[in-house]
């Protein structure tokens, strides 16, 4: 059966991103207080030792300089505007990726011909490093915010799609038999069985997709833009303002952590039955 072969091949090419175990044994070993103390010591050491070792600030800035840059950039400079623009780009792209990923994923699972026609294209695109498309996207979509949204959507689309497809196929076979014994139609099976069963997978896809959307937006800004956090990094790089670059990195990390936390909270709500 060629369809089956293709399916198994595509499964190998695109392994789903599994829900990660976020539990680590570190905090329990250290205690939360111990962990905070450890980080304080780390930052103090960074602050004190680097000047003593003679590492120039334009290579690695010390925490107080980064903090100063961050403060200046946020309250005097353009960081807030840049943050707003990048957030707007990545969230729009993420939204598009999620909507498309869920819809295309459902179509692939529900309709054999959709899978046959589109899965090879998707597999081919999946194996391509999407950021290499950024220059092309810029030519096609323009230097404005749209090209960054496109980049964000393009990069975030795949983890959402792949996890949606895997998730929608992960339902329990006995439960499927139960629905069949109730003469449930396809729509009912999709809505009441496959989608709820897919939620943990979809959430894991959103988690990865969120970071990917940020990545896409930043790369889009690197390639050509006049605003945004990626643009700011390039500007600061030209000025050898390493502390400034670090300050932007802090903002980017905060975006990532916030997204991850929110999505995981959502995930715990949506998949509460899983331990």
């Amino acid at each position: 059966m060629p369809g089956h072969d293709m399916q198994s091949a595509s499964k190998q090419t695109i392994p789903a991103i599994q829900a990660q175990e976020t539990k680590s044994s570190l905090p329990s070993a250290f205690g939360t207080g111990g962990l905070v103390l450890f980080y304080i010591v780390l930052f103090v050491a960074w602050e004190m030792l680097l000047p003593l070792l003679g590492v120039p600030a334009y290579l690695v800035p010390i925490p107080s300089m980064i903090l100063h840059s961050l403060q200046q950039g946020l309250f005097v400079g353009t960081y807030l505007t840049d943050l707003g623009i990048t957030l707007m780009e990545m969230l729009s792209g993420f939204g598009i990726a999620v909507a498309l990923g869920l819809i295309v994923g459902a179509l692939i699972v529900e309709f054999r011909f959709v899978e046959k026609v589109f899965y090879p294209i998707i597999v081919a695109l999946q194996s391509l490093p999407k950021i290499a498309l950024a220059p092309l996207i810029l030519i096609w979509v323009g230097f404005g915010i749209e090209s960054k949204i496109t980049m964000a959507a393009l990069v975030a689309f795949f983890p959402v799609l792949v996890n949606t497809v895997t998730g929608l196929r992960a339902y329990d076979r006995d439960m499927h038999e139960l629905f069949r014994s109730l003469s449930a139609n396809r729509g009912q099976i999709l809505w009441r069985l496959k989608i709820p069963a897919a939620l943990p997978f979809i959430i894991a896809g959103l988690d990865v997709g969120f970071i990917f959307a940020l990545l896409g937006a930043i790369v889009g800004e690197f390639v050509g833009s006049s605003a945004g956090l990626g643009y700011a990094i390039i500007q600061l790089q030209y000025q050898f303002d390493t502390a400034g670059v670090f300050a932007i990195l802090v903002i980017l990390a905060l975006i990532g952590i916030t997204g991850h936390t929110l999505i995981n909270m959502l995930g715990k709500q949506a998949a509460f039955w899983q331990k």
Partner: protein, 275 residues
């Protein structure tokens, strides 16, 4: 059909009308890589309305295939199965099914699990809610309506599954080793409960089991099935008083029935072969 008057014990008023008739039914599966497997052959069963019939047989005798045929989940290769003179070609609403495993949807509360057939059938939720509460009472789960499956024990989960099978008031209950996964003690309690539920709901019951004692304890009539070919070798009327109590196991007649079925299943030869 079935009234909701509770607590009417004693012998059921078995109607002469045949609720279900299985005539010359056989099921053959195509084996992968050619050849055929005969799962069941020339099975003839007639069950009267309100009758409790147990089908007992060794594992691999085609019990589950027969159950799927009656459930309308697969079609027979030959012969016909009729429910009130209508041939069963697909799952029927008037046959409620209790599977080997509870198969509860983990994202739904016990109550919502019980209401699943109502949703799938598009029946009135309001009416069903009243019945659901009565059923929770009947299966001894009053107060657990809001609990989720992972919060319930195996026995409680199977009680929920029984309530789910009864929610839309089907005339017949089809049970496939419903207590097979439970420990011996819980199993006895569930058997006792089942006879109570049955006399309260006045359903026609076909229960499949590999437990000889369970079959005799529950049934008006025990059908003994052999393996290879999977067919009914004997029908035994169980003449024991109702309501059945656990002490019935000590009855001389009970022992005689057990012995008779053991001989029919050829357990003696098996024991000798292993000795």
């Amino acid at each position: 059909m079935a009234g909701d008057s509770l607590g009417s014990g004693g012998n059921p008023n078995v109607n002469n009308a045949s609720a279900i008739s299985i005539e010359h039914v056989g099921k053959t599966f195509a084996r992968q890589g050619g050849g055929e497997v005969v799962a069941v052959e020339n099975v003839n069963i007639s069950i009267s309305e309100g009758e409790f019939v147990c089908l007992v047989g060794p594992s691999g005798c085609g019990k589950s295939t027969l159950m799927k045929l009656v459930a309308g989940l697969t079609r027979a290769t030959n012969g016909a199965i009729r429910f009130h003179n209508e041939e069963i070609v697909s799952p029927r609403r008037d046959i409620g099914i209790v599977f080997q495993a509870p198969i509860l949807l983990p994202w739904r509360s016990a109550l919502e699990n019980v209401l699943l057939p109502i949703q799938i059938y598009g029946l009135s939720r309001e009416k069903a809610l009243r019945r659901a509460h009565e059923l929770f009472d009947l299966v001894g789960l009053k107060g657990f309506e809001g609990s989720y499956p992972h919060e319930l024990s195996g026995g409680m989960q199977q009680r929920v599954a029984i309530a789910r099978a009864l929610i839309h008031d089907p005339g017949m209950l089809l049970m496939d080793e419903p207590f097979g996964a439970l420990d011996a003690m819980t199993r006895q309690i569930m058997n006792l409960e089942l006879t109570r539920i049955w006399s309260a709901q006045k359903k026609t019951v076909l229960l499949i089991t590999h437990d000889i004692g369970e079959a005799i304890f529950l049934a008006d009539r025990v059908l003994v099935m052999s393996a290879r070919p999977g067919t009914i070798v004997e029908t035994i009327e169980i003449d024991l008083p109702r309501p059945r109590r656990l002490s019935v196991v000590g009855d001389v007649k009970f022992g005689a029935y057990v012995r008779q079925i053991q001989q029919l299943l050829g357990l003696d030869e098996l024991v000798e072969a292993y000795a």
